[in-house]
Amino acid sequence: MDPLAYAPEFVVLAAALLVFLADVLGVRRLEAFGGIATGASAVAFALVLADLGTPVLSGLSTLPAGVLDAPLGPGITSFTSLGLVFQAIFLLAAFFVSLASLSRPSAEAGSAVFFGLLLLATLGMLLVALSADLIFLLLAIELASISTYLMVGYSRKEARHLEAAMKFYIIGALSTALSFFGASLLFGAYGGTSFYGLGPAATPIGYPTLALVGYALLIAGLGFKVTAVPFHAWAVDVYDGAPTDVSAFLAGGTKKMGIFAFFLVFLAPLLILGHTPALGPRGFASALQLTLGIAAVLTMTVGNLLALLQKEMKRLLAYSSISQAGYMLIGVAVASGPAVAGATFQVLAHVFMKTGAFLVVAAVASLGVGPLIEDWRGLGPRRPYLSLSFALMLLSLAGVPLTIGFVSKFVLFSSAVQAKGPFVWLAVAGLLNSALSVFYYARILKTIYLDPPAPTDAPAAVPAPAAGIGWGRGAAILLITVGIVALGIYPGPVLSGIQAAASQFVFVGG
């Protein structure tokens, strides 16, 4: 394979090494590291879009002809349109977070570690999207995960950051163990670990139970990564305890690689093996589909119910992030071309909404506002632009029209109704959950816009409007807000691209 085909990955890797090198050479300015990370993710983003055949950028494409969406072979990597779409989504998250982090204090200790690890985690995520082999996939997930464990604790000063990092690491190790154990069982059942051998070229096996246990363990292992209930408890503590910019990256970025991993691992047994006569009428696909459907409903319901009870902004966003993962799992459970497209668009929407929301929380915290939701009272009139951005993000999370979150839910739930039969219930569950989620989003809006600021702590809680949030953070929030509205009003081309990528995806088309 032409090494140039991996140009985006090389750009990100080179940038990561450059950041660490600069740190060793004595560069101490955050802007330098941040500039490298922002620039590298922007360049890699453009390269990925070029590979996807975006008209304006097509001259930049480094992908040899005939490689994209080629039939799956026994190799360890493959280039799929859907994988490239996910790469673009990951790079977008990395871009927003590094752009916003440019506004951190210039002399902050450990900033090289932060940006270097951000790039390494991004590299891991990019490799996840190229995986064609279960072991390669799990290793790529490890690269991203280990980088993020360190990112959570990079400041090394605050105890709660270190506690969150420790918790994240221990749970992550457990999840890795489960995944690899599942992979080894699948190896035993099928005699191989490439998705080619687990899907199109699967040999009829004599141990369907073994394979089923293997897949169940993978649901658990990958379930930790996407915060599926009941493997979700860590997420709240980690998102809450981590520095807020890192939370933005975890919720908006790394969690999404789990969704793509779900596609890679489970679309084959649901769509391809399910049609293998040797495994019975639907093989074990029905059992897997039921499990995934229940996991989706549980995840969104538990996430939303617990979000209702939260008093702290970051914990509320963490629970809402869990519920959003439940919506995405609908796409895995339904396992049709439209559902995969819907889930992918939901992932894209979530990058805008959740990364944006955490970045606003970081911005508001930098203005000296406390962590509780009620500390945000009366913010609306005092910080009109910041509040408007946050309001749009929350409305988008709630699925209110003219925002990207509405379009994504509309497409996703439509795809479940389109699949008819029992899947309509997934759409109903999703819609009821959206209604439930409106309670807590509306409550935040009410706090920000309608509640008067508390008289006693007013001067301390909300400083004079002169205090700035930094141009990097401001630019990131502005871009995200524009994206939420623009893609909400006219999703056409992006949605068509994602639909085309999903319908060509190896397991869907195969």
Binding site: P338, S434, F439, D451, Q499
Partner: protein, 489 residues
């Protein structure tokens, strides 16, 4: 051909944005925008001589149609599709009248005027969109677009319990919207229609089996019913009305309640006639329950605004009764009554607002004999009350008469129940007038004077419309029948 409907939409959109940006000049911009919109609607009305009729396969066509592709992926086709017929045109006319009246009435709004007028325009924009949209997604989008400005109108400018009322309003109507959306999606996917466009749904949806139609109709009935509001999902309405500012109440009662009824006619009755046929008894029962409950509870109210709110439930019950009949006469009467109730309830909410400003209370028992001191205001109270109780030659009479006549065809003697309730309604309005307007003077502050001229102007416009359309209801009826109901029994 001129994209007329989009021009109207653009007018409202531009006025909304300009109003938000124009600071203390907001009221002038809002007035100019709403007057331009009214003139455009009147021109549209003047040019609307003949409805486009049925196309191939009996699919209804619409005047001034526009269709642009919006989302187009293999299994999901969504268009920006708009068009009008007589039913939607009458409701667009109602929107334009109420927009002008609301802007004039709240001329001196002091609290964040730019925001206030902008949100008023935005609410009307959403209502206009609902009435002209011919695509599921576009329809739903405008439907939801009404919610957010109304949430703020109640929650920011409302009375003491405004935050509770705003939240309750938002949650009730949003849950209903979701059920409505999933039902509409199911209509599209179960019928296998090519796109979400009303005209391409029409044939496949009507061909669906009876069981499917019944389930889908139930979903749509719940979704639209909460906005009506039907008993027992009406409890958000009195709270929202009592706490809402006068302008908010006017839009809420005058326009928002009409959205549910319009949606039921267009998206449920027209698409799922078999479903309606099987569920008609349920609809009659709910309608009569709303009629009885609304007026009996209204009788017990002392707060003028609460009384008007409950009488809205009563009137919308009659609308539901007429829609459930599903005949040409029934739907004509229903749309006429929607228009009538829009104007009359707007006037009544305005007079309760003015009574409140003038006398410092809305308690019917606390004030009395106000006519000698404020003759203009009490004349308007009288016009509103008489119209609401259905006095002949005022606008509600032909509508209620038509509705009950249509219902007679289907439920025969059961019509006596709503008819007797009309007597109760008449009684409580008479009693109201007797106590407030003509009794011995009480509770009148010493320095009382008539409401400001802009309030009187807004109310007089509505009173004039009540008389105009009451004397010549054919002005509206001939427009309403210019619609697909021509083909109905």
């Amino acid at each position: 051909m001129l994209p007329v409907l989009s021009i109207l939409l653009a007018t409202l959109l531009a006025s909304t944005l300009l109003t938000f940006l124009s600071g203390r000049w907001a009221r002038y911009v809002a007035l100019a925008g709403s007057v331009v919109f009214l003139v455009e609607v009147l021109l549209l009305l003047a040019s609307f001589t003949q409805w486009a009729g049925f196309g191939a396969g009996g699919v209804p066509q619409y005047n001034d149609p526009e269709t642009y592709p919006w989302i187009s992926i293999s299994w999901l086709t969504v268009n920006y599709a708009v068009g009008i017929d007589g039913i939607s045109l009458v409701l667009v006319l109602l929107t334009a009248f109420l927009l002008v009246a609301t802007v004039v009435y709240s001329w001196r709004e002091e609290k964040e005027p730019a925001l206030w007028f902008g949100l008023v325009l935005l609410t009307c924009l959403g209502c206009y969109g609902v009435f002209v949209a011919l695509d599921i997604l576009l329809f739903f989008l405008f439907w939801e677009a009404v919610l957010i400005p109304m949430f703020f109108l109640i929650g920011y400018w409302g009375g003491p319990r405004r935050r509770y009322a705003a939240l309750k309003f938002f949650v009730y109507t949003h849950v209903a919207s979701i059920v409505m959306l999933v039902s509409l999606l199911a209509v599209a996917f179960y019928s296998g229609a090519a796109s979400f466009d009303f005209t391409s749904l029409y044939g496949p949806a009507r061909a669906l089996g009876a069981t499917t139609q019944v389930f889908l109709f139930l979903g749509l009935f719940f979704g639209f019913g909460v906005k009506f509001p039907i008993v027992p999902f009406h409890t958000w309405l009195p709270d929202a009305h009592v706490e809402a500012p006068t302008g908010g109440s006017v839009l809420l009662a005058g326009l928002l309640l009409k959205l549910g009824a319009y949606g039921l006619i267009r998206w449920a009755v027209e698409l799922l006639p078999t479903g309606l046929g099987h569920l008609a008894p349920l609809l009659y029962a709910v309608a009569i329950a709303s009629i009885v409950w609304g007026s009996v509870v209204a009788l017990a109210q002392r707060d003028l605004k609460r009384l008007v709110a409950y009488s809205s439930i009563n009137h919308m019950g009659i609308v539901l009764l007429a829609i459930a009949v599903g005949s040409s006469l029934g739907v004509t009467a229903a749309v006429l009554l929607m228009f009538a109730h829009g104007i009359v309830s707007a006037l009544l909410f305005m007079v309760s607002g003015s009574v409140h400003h003038t006398f410092g209370t809305r308690d019917i028992n606390a004030i009395g004999g106000i006519t000698p001191r404020t003759p203009a205001l009490s004349t308007l109270v009288m016009v509103g009350s008489l119209a609401s109780l259905g006095l002949p030659a005022l606008i509600s009479f032909p509508a209620e008469f038509g509705a009950l006549l249509a219902a007679w065809d289907r439920i025969s003697y059961w019509v006596l129940l709503p008819l007797l309730i009309l007597v109760v309604t008449a009684a409580f309005y008479m009693w109201l007038m007797q106590r407030m307007l003509f009794g011995p003077p009480k509770g009148i502050p010493a320095n009382v004077h008539e409401p400001p001229s802009f309030e009187l102007a807004a109310m007089s416009i509505l009173a004039a419309l009540i008389v105009l359309y009451g004397v010549v209801p054919s002005l509206l009826v001939q427009v309403i029948v210019n619609s697909p109901i021509q083909g109905w029994p």
